[in-house]
Amino acid sequence: MPVMVSFSYIAAAVLFVLALKWMSAPATARRGVKAGELGMLLAVAGTLLRHEVVDYEWILAGFALGSAIGIPLAYLMPMTAVPQRTAISHAFGALAAALIGTAEFYKHPQHGFILGALVIEVLLGYLTFTGSLMAFGKLQEILPGRPLVYKGQNIVNLSVFAAAALAGIYLIANPSATWAFPVLSVLALLFGIMLIVPIGGADMPTVIALLNSYAGLAASFMGFALDNYLLVIAGALDGASGLILSIVMCRAMNRSFANVLFGAFGQVRTQGGAAEKRPVRSAEPEEAAEILEAARLVIIVPGYGMAVAQAQYKIRELYDRLTKLGVEVKFAIHPVAGRMPGHMNVLLAEADIPYDRLSELDEINPEFAQADAVLVVGANDVVNPAARTDSSSPIYGMPILDADKARTVMVIKRSMNPGFAGIENELYYMNKTLMLFGDAKAVLSEMNKSLAAQRV
């Protein structure tokens, strides 16, 4: 490798590390993106200079087509669709890794360490490819979002994975048995699909983080196969990031990896017919506005429902009006609110809500007792007190936002249908709880209107 190329790779590795370091805080994060871009530019330029690269037509065509798709994807994608975009980009990254591994395999006979790395790269690549496509389909609601389960599903899934792994091991032991390569590729593609079939929307944050990790590891193993340490480092950084995020998500739900992947959380439980109708107190948006106006501290708890209703701008308006009236407004963000890590923060930032108003679970929980009112917008399980009190509940032990400790709780909700996981929420039946039925955007508009009317 020419010295220039080595230099560009080393510089790129340093820049990638700096990019992640600067990502730690909002003040330096954009500098991090710049560092990452520069690193990528150096790596690509260095690679184009390598003497093995002689034919540029296909490469330039790929750059052109990729940019033609990538630029609109970045600018036209609404922020509410960020989970889907993330899922599809994991699919693209994994597909690239798998195809490169496949091309390397058929280029010339491989054996030993390189073959082993290729096999793992291709296994991870193909299973992450179809798994991410499935996640994309579920998030985009092309596919039903509810988990699909059948008897013996886990055994079938694990058998498919074991068969893929066995084909890989056989191939490494007998490098001339090239038939094993397409077999393991197809099995990996199949396993990716089957892995996501039983996953429901509430588990998407964990699964997306996990697929992120796999896509990174596939790039690392490509680095092993190509003897390229830049790929090894970049892949390891991405793999570590996905791993940490999925651990954070699992902790926020008090569940294990195994439980997320094989537990089929959120399936419809068939428990004795219609649940009994219990009385709830409902209220009109005008009453809710009056309560908020009289409050000193209001805490807003956003959830996936806010994203679905695209209600973040109405929340921003409410925040402005209340702030002007001297009411202190804070936002309580549960780590698994939404469909990917950090989803709510991005939506609220999009609506121009200052990020120092957004508080994490541990930070905000002691403040609920002082809050005059809590407004829950499209969140459900993350404020369900059953997680603290009812050991028979599927979400028992999950750290929740203590919304029930506030003086008044207001919940904007479409209807009394139980939420995604089909778990009854005691919060709705409490005496201090007011239910505001309707579409989140419409209800918030009404509240804003009546706040405006009262201030003449």
């Binding site: 790929g62 087509l65 092993f224 990917m340 950090g342 200052p354």
Partner: protein
């Protein structure tokens, strides 16, 4: 094979470094973090270029290389752009209420 052994050392050290760095990232930024790392892992474009641009490659290899260059480029381009678009939105409160 000392060369491969070295690769494994590099992987382990980079993974530990990654774990330490990511642990410090505020949960506020977890979504842009994921799109940034996704763009970084599109470094596989390096492998794709080597496959697509090789001398006397088979058509099979060229086509796979071309698809890989395309999908990796999509991730590089859209990953960095959307991360920056998201980060631009994060603002501190500038006025006293």
């Amino acid at each position: 094979m000392p060369v491969h052994e070295l690769g494994i050392y590099v992987f382990i050290l980079a993974a530990f470094l990654g774990l330490e760095l990511i642990r410090r990232v505020s949960p506020l930024l977890h979504t842009p973090l994921m799109s940034l790392t996704n763009a970084i892992s599109a470094i596989s474009v390096v492998g794709a270029i080597l496959i697509a641009g090789e001398e006397n490659a088979s058509t099979f290899s060229r086509v796979l290389g071309f698809i890989a260059v395309t999908t990796a480029t999509i991730n590089v381009v859209s990953g960095y752009l959307i991360t920056d678009r998201m980060l631009k939105m994060f603002k501190k409160q500038e006025r006293k209420p």
